[in-house]
Symmetry: D2
Subunit: 374 residues, 4 copies
C-alpha cells in the first residue's frame, strides 16, 4: 500500500518508509579496525540488478549495503547480457541514477560501474569509476576496454576461475597480459560469490594486481547468503577518507584486503596491524613462576575470528598449540612455567601463525604476542 | 556470474541454480493441521514486483513463497500506479508470465491478479483469478470492477483502514455496498503488511465477507520482516486440494482464516478443529487424588502458539489460570485435587478460552481439554 | 528468593516453580520416527552430579532431560571417585532418590546407575538397572562387577578410547573378554561427550555388543554443549513402551542406535525404516519425458538431516550426485529425462547411500527412493 | 570421564578442561562505556549454590559469570535455610573457598557473602564483604546483623517486594529504619531475578540507599533465563579499579546503576555520561536547508538499546517523535527543514527523553543531541 505516499510526494519520501529508525530498520556495523592512519572501508564492487540479469531494483542494493554494514558499492550490470530486455529499457546508466539518491541519503558511496561480459578470453571484466556505461557496448571487446580506460575506469578480472569459462583449469591468457600492458587491467577477484581462486592470489602477487573479493549478487542478498554456510565477501579498502576519489586512489595504490568466510587475505603490511589492533591482552601482569599455571585473557574486539597455531616454542613456559580467538569474545589461555628463568622475564613472548590470515604470498601470517609478566 | 549458464540454456536452467537441493536452498514447512477433510493451504494474495512499485523481479516472489512455506500466491501489481514506467514496459500480464515457469517447477500455485488502485472511495481493490490484467486499465473505477467480474475475478478490499486513505477513522462507504450488491466485492483484508483492522472483522461478520490477511510486500520479504517484531501474514484456505479451482471454490465458500503475529482469526467452525488437531495430551492416566498434585504434559504440534485463559473452574481439582502452549513444544501443567470426588472421575475437564484464537464475531475461542484420569 | 516457598511446603512444590507452563519452561521434542512397532525413546545413560565430580544437583539432570526432549536417563556417579567428599556425604544411592520425584512429575524414566571407575584395564564401566550403588564399592574391581551382575545390572564399557587411559591406541583387553564371558559386559559406548570411537563400533559388531552414545555430562548441559559445534549425543532405544522394564528388554535385545552430530549409527534393520519413515515425497506424479527437466520435492519430517550420495545411475534419467535433506525442511531435486523409455516408467528409481547413516558394519546405508512418474 | 585427570593432578587442572580457549569456551563482553574516570564493572551480588538451596556447585557461578561478561560476583547462600543438609556439610564459608581458585584464574572478583534469611520483618538481607559466614548464624536476627556490621559487611535488603513475604503491598517496616540508623542497612534491591520494585527506587531516593539489581539465581543461569523474555539483571558499579576494595568504596559512595531487560536505572549524574559515551553521530555535516529532508546517522556502540521520545520541538526543523537506537546498530533519522533560519545554524539541537533510562527520582532522562550542520 505504498502507492499514495509515493504518488503524492517526492521520490525521496519513498525511501524514508523503509530506511528510517521509525521503521525498525537498522545497520549492523562490521568491526574491523582502522589501521595505519587509513579508514578501513567495507566494499563490494560487483553486483547486479533487474537492469541486466539480477532480481532486484537498484535501490535494494543500497538498502542491503547499508543494513549489512558496507560503506561502498558498485552496481555492475552486464553490458552484453540483458535477459530482461523484453520488459526493460536498455539504458545501462539507469541503475546508478536510480540508486544514487538513496545512497546519498544513507551515506553509501555508490561507484558507477559495469561488467564487460565476454567469452574467455578475456572473460568478464568489471569496470568501475566509469562515466557512461552505454559507451562500453562495442562489437569488439578490446574497444570496450579501451573505452573504459578512456573514461578513467579501474578494471578488474571477475571470477577468473569460474568453471563455466575455465572448466578444467584456471588459465592466465595472453589477452590478460595485453590488458595489463595497456594499463587497463589493474585488479583481480580472488573470491567471487561463494568461490575462492588461490591461483588468482598467486597472479596478484607476481603481477602486482589489486586483489578484490565481491559478492556478484543477483538475488536479494539475504536469500543468497541465507543458508549460513557462506558469508558475503568484502573487499576492504584502506582509504584516507570515505570519498570516491580516496577510494580510487587506494585501489590504484594497492591498498586492499579480501575477507570471506572468516579468512582475510592481504599484504603482510595490512594484516599485521589489523591483528594487533583487534586483540587486547586483558591480563595486567601474569607473574608466572616455574611449575605453576596461569591464565591469560585475550579479547578479540573485531568481527574477524583468529585461529592461531604455534610456530615455535616459547622460552621458559609452555602454551597451547592451537588458540582460537572468536570474534567479539574473550578467551582464557593456559600458560605453564617450565623453568626458573621465567620468573625474571618482564615480558613473555608467544610465537604463532594465524592460519586464517593469509598473505598475498600465500603464507600464514606470523604473529607474536607479548604478555606483561613482572 | 550467472550469465553464460543463462545465455547457453533454457530459462528453466537459471532457476535450478538457486532452487535446488544442490544449492543449499530449502523450504520450511508451516505446521498448521489439515482439518475437516480439507487441506490447509498457506496463501498470500497481495504482493508487488518491479512491474509496478515493488523492488523485485516476479520470480523472487515465487522463491520467497517456496522458501517460507507458502502454497499459493497472487502477484497483484498496481494497474494505475507504475512508477518504474520510465524503465519498464507497461504490460501487466508479464509478472504472471515471468513467474509461472518457476511456480510450476516448485509446486507453487500462482494466481493471476492485479490491484485496482483508486482514491477512496473505493480505495484499493485486489482482483484475483483474472484473465487479462491489461483490460482492467479503465478511466472509470466502476468499469474496471465490472471488467474484473466479467473475467471471473474474486475481488477483495485491500487495507481498508490504511491511514493514508482513511486518516481519521475506518469507514465503510456506499461504494462498497454497491460493489457488494453487484456481486463484485466478496472479501476484505483484515490484516495487511504489519497492520490489523478490527473493524474489517466486524464488517466481514455482518456482511458475510471472506476475510484475508496478506503481506502486500514491496521489498524482498526477508528485508520487510527482518526485524522480527512482525511475521508475514498468511491467509489460510481450507481447500479440497491444491489446485487453482479448488482454491477459488474455497474462497467463494468462505473457507479462510487469517494468521498474523501468532493470532488466528476465523469462524469458530475452523478454529476449534485446528486447536484440537494441534494439541496432544501426552499423559496417559493422571490418577489424581484429593490433596495431591499431578502434572499433565501437553504437546503443541503446530507452528501456532496457544495462549489459554481459564474461563470457569473445574470440578474436583484446580488448574492454572493461564497456560501458554508454545509452538512445537511440550509444557507441564500442574493440577491439584481439591475434593475426594476427583478420585472417581474417569475424565477431568478443563475450561479455557484461547486468547489468540479469535472468532469472526470478535470473541476468544472457548476450548475444553479432557484428561484421562482413571 | 525460593526459600519461603520451599520452607513452607512440600518438596514437590519446589519443582513446580521451575517446571510448569506458568514459569515459561517448555520441552523441545526430538523428532525421530517410531519404527517397527516400537517407540523410539531418546536416552542418555551416563551423567554426573555433585555427588561425585559433577557440578549440579541431581534434579538438574532431570530438568535438562525434560527440556531437551529426552525420555530416559541414568545418573551414574563414580563409585570410587568423589572429590566433593569434604563437603558431601558418601551415600551413592542419594542422587537417584533426590532426582526421582521430579522425574516422576515430568514423565522422565530415571534408571538407577553408577560408574565403576578403575584404571585400565578394565577402565570405566557403567552399571545401570542396579538396586544399591553403595554395594558396588569394593576393593577388587571384579567383585564390584559381579555385585552389579547380582543386582541385575546392564553393564557397558564407557569411553573405551579415552586418551587418558588409552593414550596411544584403543585396545580390547583380556579383562573385557573375561567380563563378557561372565555375562557381565553387554554394551559399549561408541560415542562419549564429544568423542567418537570407530573401533568400538567394530568390536560391537564382532562381539554382538549393544552400542550406546552418552553425554557423560559433568557441568550444566547447556554449558557443555553451548558452543554449538557438538550436540548432546543420544542413545535411541526401540522399546515396546516407555517403562523401565521395556527399556531393559530392548537393551538386552540389542535394539539401540546412537545419534551424535547428525550421524546415526545402528544395525541396518533400524536405519532403513527410520529413513523411510522420515522422508516424504511431496510430488504426486512427475511425468518426466525425454530431454525434459522436472523437480521433485522431498520433505524430511525429522530432526536428523540426511546426506545422500548417488551409488549407481538411474535408468532413463539423471539425478544429482549429492542430495542434502536438512532436518524439517523440503528440498527440490532436479531430474532430467535422458531416454524415451522414461516416459513409460510408472516409477522412477534413484539409488543413493546415506553418508551419515552408518551401519554397525561401518558401511554407509544404501537407500532407494521411488518416485511416482506416470 | 573427567576423573583420571582430576585424580592425577592439581585442582586447577580441572578448571582448564572447561574454561580454556582450547575447549571452545569464550566470554561475551558486555558493552557499557566507562564514565567519569571510573571503570563500569558488571556485578551480581546475589546467587545460590548447592550449599543452601541452589542447584549448582560454586565453581559454576564463576564459570557463568565469566562466560556472560560479569566482572564481580558474590555467592550468598542462605544462613538459615539449607535444605540439602541431609547430604551436605554445614560450613557456609565453603562456597567461597571452593569457588575462589577458579575466580582468580578467570579474573572474576569474588566477594564473600551470605543471605540472612528471616521472616518479614526484616525479610532477607544480603551481607557482602563479610569475613566468616558461619558467625552470622544466630537465634536473633538483630544479632546476626550486628555481627555482619562487625565484620565490615555492606548489607542490602533483598527482593523487598517479594509476594511471599509482602503479599498485598510493599511495606517499609520500622525494623528497616532501625537497621539504617544502626549503620547496617545501606542498599536495596530494586530488581531481583525477574521482578522489579518501583517502590524500592522511591525509598532509595528518599533514604539515600544504594540501588542493586541481582539475579538471585538458583538453577544454572542458562536455564533460568533461557526463555529469552528476561535477561539476567546486572548491578553496574562505577569503581576506580577492578579490586575488592575499590568496589566496596564505590558501593559505599553510592556509585551504582541497575540494568534489567533494557532498562537502566541510576542517578542522573551516571545516566547522562553513559548515553553520551554510547552514541556517536556518524554524519559529518548535515547542511540542512528549508523544505529539504536530510538523514542523520546515529550509531549506538553499546549493548543497551535507547528508546527516545521527543520532549520539545526543535528550532528550524522537525524530527521524529520517537527514535529507537538498537544496541550495536546504526539508524537513519529523518530531519526536515521548516524555516530558512535552519540554513544558518551551525548546530542543530534535538530534545528527547530516554524512556528506558530512569533516574532515581523515577523520571525519564532528558537527552539533547547536537548535530553539526554548517
Amino acid at each position: 500500500m505504498n502507492m499514495l505516499i509515493r504518488l503524492g510526494s517526492l521520490t525521496s519520501l519513498i525511501l524514508i518508509l523503509l530506511f528510517s529508525a521509525a521503521n525498525g530498520q537498522s545497520r549492523k556495523e562490521i568491526r574491523v579496525p582502522d589501521i595505519l592512519g587509513y579508514q578501513t572501508l567495507k566494499c563490494d564492487f560487483h553486483m547486479h540488478t533487474v537492469f541486466s540479469d539480477g532480481d532486484v531494483w537498484p535501490t535494494v542494493r543500497v538498502e542491503e549495503a547499508w543494513t549489512e554494514g558496507l560503506d561502498v558499492i558498485a552496481i555492475t550490470d552486464h553490458i552484453e547480457y540483458r535477459p530482461h530486455s523484453v520488459d526493460m529499457e536498455a539504458d545501462l546508466n539507469r541503475p546508478y541514477e536510480v540508486a544514487k539518491p538513496l545512497a546519498d541519503q544513507l551515506g553509501i558511496v555508490l561507484i558507477r560501474g559495469a561488467e564487460i561480459t565476454r567469452n574467455m578470453p578475456p572473460g568478464h571484466l568489471n569496470a568501475i569509476f566509469i562515466k557512461n556505461a552505454n559507451l562500453l557496448e562495442r562489437e569488439d571487446w578490446w574497444e570496450a576496454c579501451v573505452e573504459a580506460r578512456e573514461q578513467g575506469a579501474f578494471v578488474f578480472w571477475s571470477h577468473p576461475g569460474w568453471k563455466e569459462q575455465q572448466p578444467d583449469t584456471t588459465i592466465w591468457w595472453p589477452e590478460h597480459t595485453r590488458l595489463m600492458n595497456a594499463g587497463i587491467l589493474k585488479g583481480i577477484e580472488i573470491y567471487n560469490h561463494k568461490e575462492y581462486y588461490p591461483e588468482a592470489v598467486r597472479w596478484a602477487q607476481e603481477k602486482n594486481l589489486v586483489i578484490l573479493g565481491n559478492s556478484d549478487v543477483h538475488a536479494p542478498s539475504t536469500q543468497e547468503y541465507s543458508e549460513g554456510k557462506f558469508s558475503r565477501p568484502i573487499t576492504l579498502v584502506f582509504a584516507m577518507d570515505k570519498t570516491e576519489s580516496a577510494i580510487k586512489t587506494a585501489l590504484v595504490d594497492n591498498r586492499t584486503a579480501v575477507l570471506f568466510n572468516d579468512t582475510l587475505i592481504a599484504e603482510r603490511r595490512f594484516l599485521t596491524p589489523i591483528f594487533i589492533a583487534a586483540i587486547q591482552i586483558k591480563t595486567k601482569k601474569l607473574n608466572l613462576i616455574d611449575q605453576d599455571i596461569k591464565y591469560l585473557q585475550i579479547y578479540n574486539n573485531s568481527d574477524i575470528p583468529f585461529k592461531l597455531h604455534q610456530r615455535q616454542p616459547s622460552v621458559g613456559f609452555s602454551c597451547p598449540e592451537e588458540i582460537e580467538l572468536p570474534a567479539n569474545r574473550t578467551v582464557s589461555v593456559e600458560l605453564t612455567g617450565i623453568s626458573e628463568e621465567v620468573e625474571q622475564m618482564p615480558v613473555l613472548k608467544m610465537f604463532y601463525e594465524a592460519t586464517n590470515l593469509i598473505t598475498k604470498r600465500g603464507e600464514k601470517l606470523p604473529v607474536n604476542i607479548d604478555i606483561p609478566n613482572k
